[in-house]
């Protein structure tokens, strides 16, 4: 599906349409203070249209990886590309093509949902801000809350506004960092439905950090497992289930992977 991008003059990279939309090439990161290496030589290629589940224990380096892919952090070695654009040297081109929902999404609590969304839409260069907000809230089945202040919202409602801000500019890739944290079962199901619709109806590639393996098996098309900063597994979900025929659930498979390291 052809993605509509914001109005900026967009530089099209010299890549094939079927080339990976997310690429990690020897990605390594060490923190300046202490010098601890948190990501070791990650190599990964995620094709367009995937829903990629990025698994790993707490502190494995998942959020650091997302921070680099979303241009919030510069890696110390290697490269990362989104839709063929380098996350460091072509950061603005990357930013035009990505949406991001952090784990603890927060907003301006004293502003209304509309004011928050309008601000982020303008920063993304969205034309017809009002129309677009209405369209996105309609897509998320969330109309009618526009003029309520964010401080009155529940965690689930904030998460939906978080998703709305992430897709306002119709990005090619959406990064979700532990999107189910703090949601009740109904909220989790709603989120899963939205993720699937974003992928199937809007053609967006989804990169999702998560702990919730039951959700991964219902949503993702491929997975990667990160252990202490090293990518120890990367396959399609179908192949993963075939690789571990004796295991009854993805959770059991994941535990086995971790134990093998």
């Amino acid at each position: 599906m052809h993605m509509k991008l914001p109005s900026h003059a967009v530089v099209e990279p010299n890549i094939k349409k079927d080339a990976p939309v997310i690429e990690l090439d020897g990605l390594t990161h060490s923190y300046a203070y202490g010098g601890e290496t948190v990501l070791h030589d990650l190599n990964l290629a995620i094709p367009r249209g995937e829903i990629f589940g990025f698994l790993g224990h707490n502190g494995a380096g998942k959020t650091t990886t997302i921070s680099i892919l979303t241009t919030l952090l510069r890696q110390t070695a290697g490269a990362a590309r989104i839709a063929g654009f380098d996350t460091v040297s072509e950061a603005d081109e990357v930013r035009r093509r990505i949406g991001y929902l952090p784990e603890n999404v927060t907003f301006y609590n004293d502003l209304t949902a509309y004011e928050n969304l309008a601000y982020f839409a303008r920063l993304s260069g969205v034309k017809n801000v009002d129309e677009r907000i209405d369209e996105v809230l309609g897509f998320l089945d969330f109309r009618g809350i526009e003029h309520r202040k964010l401080k009155t919202f529940s965690k689930g409602m904030r998460q939906r506004i978080g998703l709305a801000q992430a897709i306002l500019h119709e990005p090619e890739v959406v990064f979700l960092d532990e999107p189910t944290t703090g949601l009740d079962p109904v909220g989790i199901k709603n989120l899963r439905d939205v993720i699937l619709r974003l992928n199937q109806e809007k053609g967006m590639t989804i990169f999702m950090n998560t702990h919730l393996l039951s959700e991964v098996s219902k949503t993702c098309t491929s997975i990667g497992v990160l252990n202490r900063g090293r990518l120890i597994y990367n396959e399609s979900l179908e192949k993963t289930l075939a690789d571990f025929p004796d295991e009854v659930s993805l959770e059991a498979i994941y535990v086995q992977m971790e134990e093998l390291v």
């Binding site: 991001y100 784990e103 927060t106 301006y108 982020f120």
Partner: protein, 311 residues
């Protein structure tokens, strides 16, 4: 229908002003400041007329006692614009605090809301963001200063006996323009510490410490035996008397760093209290503003946004 994409820069400036207008601390300080401005001209006027009344009563008393050689009216030749000198004190104290709050809140608001990662995953450069933030802060200060000018001019117009000299309102405008420079310095200091300090309380405490040093400690050291000079600005326009080697040396060494005195000298020059070295003081003040803005921009450029992901 307008289908043009809005400017990212303008969006940040607009957002800055919108959110500031909803800040309760800012609104409270602003209300206090405006009320004080309204009454300051009356206070200045009453002070002046009371001084003159006491002088004339003293003259009448001394004449009745047969004294023939009486010192001239001390207010003769003093610019009527100096009835506004209370504003100098208000700006020096409350105005600077207001500016610190504006600069501080400008960035702390974003940090506290945890929205910086959502901002910087969008196609906005740090330079654009910093420029827009600073412009928003300066526009807010400009609005406040010119509202203050309007209130001062309005209240002065209601004192029939107060006759400002030709060009009096223009001189008053000059005074407020200099005040804007002084306030911009403290707003930039507030912004700077809000970026570099991890703790929100410390981020507010540090610019207040700078303010205390610049407005109280340094002037005390540099004006030596006349420590209240800053709160009685007219005395600063005269030559500083010989106060012994320590205070002379302190004056030479520290007065270039005394932002409060630099402001007082340049602002009083505008009110006709003696130009003296007011232009040099104004340029020094502008240099401080440049340094404070540069430091804020540098700090913001190096700010690690990822630390806000773990709030």
């Amino acid at each position: 229908m307008n289908t043009r994409a809005p400017s990212v820069f303008a969006s940040v400036v607009r957002h800055e002003l919108t959110t500031l207008a909803r800040e309760k601390t800012f609104l409270l300080l602003l209300a206090i400041f405006m009320a004080m401005t309204f009454f300051s001209v009356y206070i200045g006027w009453f002070t002046r007329t009371t001084t003159e009344a006491i002088y004339h009563a003293s003259v009448a008393y001394l004449a009745a006692q047969g004294v023939t050689s009486i010192v001239a009216d001390p207010l003769t030749g003093v610019s009527p614009l100096l009835v506004f000198d209370n504003m100098l004190v208000y700006l020096l104290l409350i105005g600077a605090l207001l500016a610190i709050v504006i600069g501080h809140r400008s960035f702390i608001r974003e940090r506290a809301a945890g929205v910086l990662p959502l901002v910087f995953v969008r196609p906005i450069s740090r330079a654009q963001y910093i420029g827009a933030k600073l412009l928003g802060v300066l526009l807010a200060l400009t609005g406040i200063v010119f509202a203050t000018y309007a209130v001062s001019a309005f209240s002065a117009a209601f004192i029939p006996a107060l006759r400002l000299p030709a060009g009096g309102y223009a001189a008053l405008l000059g005074f407020y323009a200099v005040s804007l420079v002084y306030l911009a310095f403290f707003a930039a200091v507030g912004l700077f510490f809000s970026v570099i300090m991890k703790n929100e309380s410390t981020a507010l405490f540090m610019p207040i410490l700078v303010w205390v040093a610049a407005v109280f400690i340094l002037p005390e050291l540099t004006t030596g035996q006349n420590p209240v000079a800053l709160l009685n600005p007219v005395t600063l326009t005269g030559a500083i008397p010989d106060q012994g080697s320590f205070f002379t040396a302190a004056h030479r060494l520290l007065s270039p760093f005394s932002v409060g005195q630099l402001y007082t000298r340049s602002a009083l020059g505008m009110l006709g209290g003696g130009i003296g070295n007011s232009i040099a003081s104004l340029f020094a003040l502008l240099a401080y503003v440049g340094v404070a803005i540069g430091a804020s921009a540098f700090a913001l450029r190096r700010y690690a946004v990822t630390r806000d992901l773990y709030l």
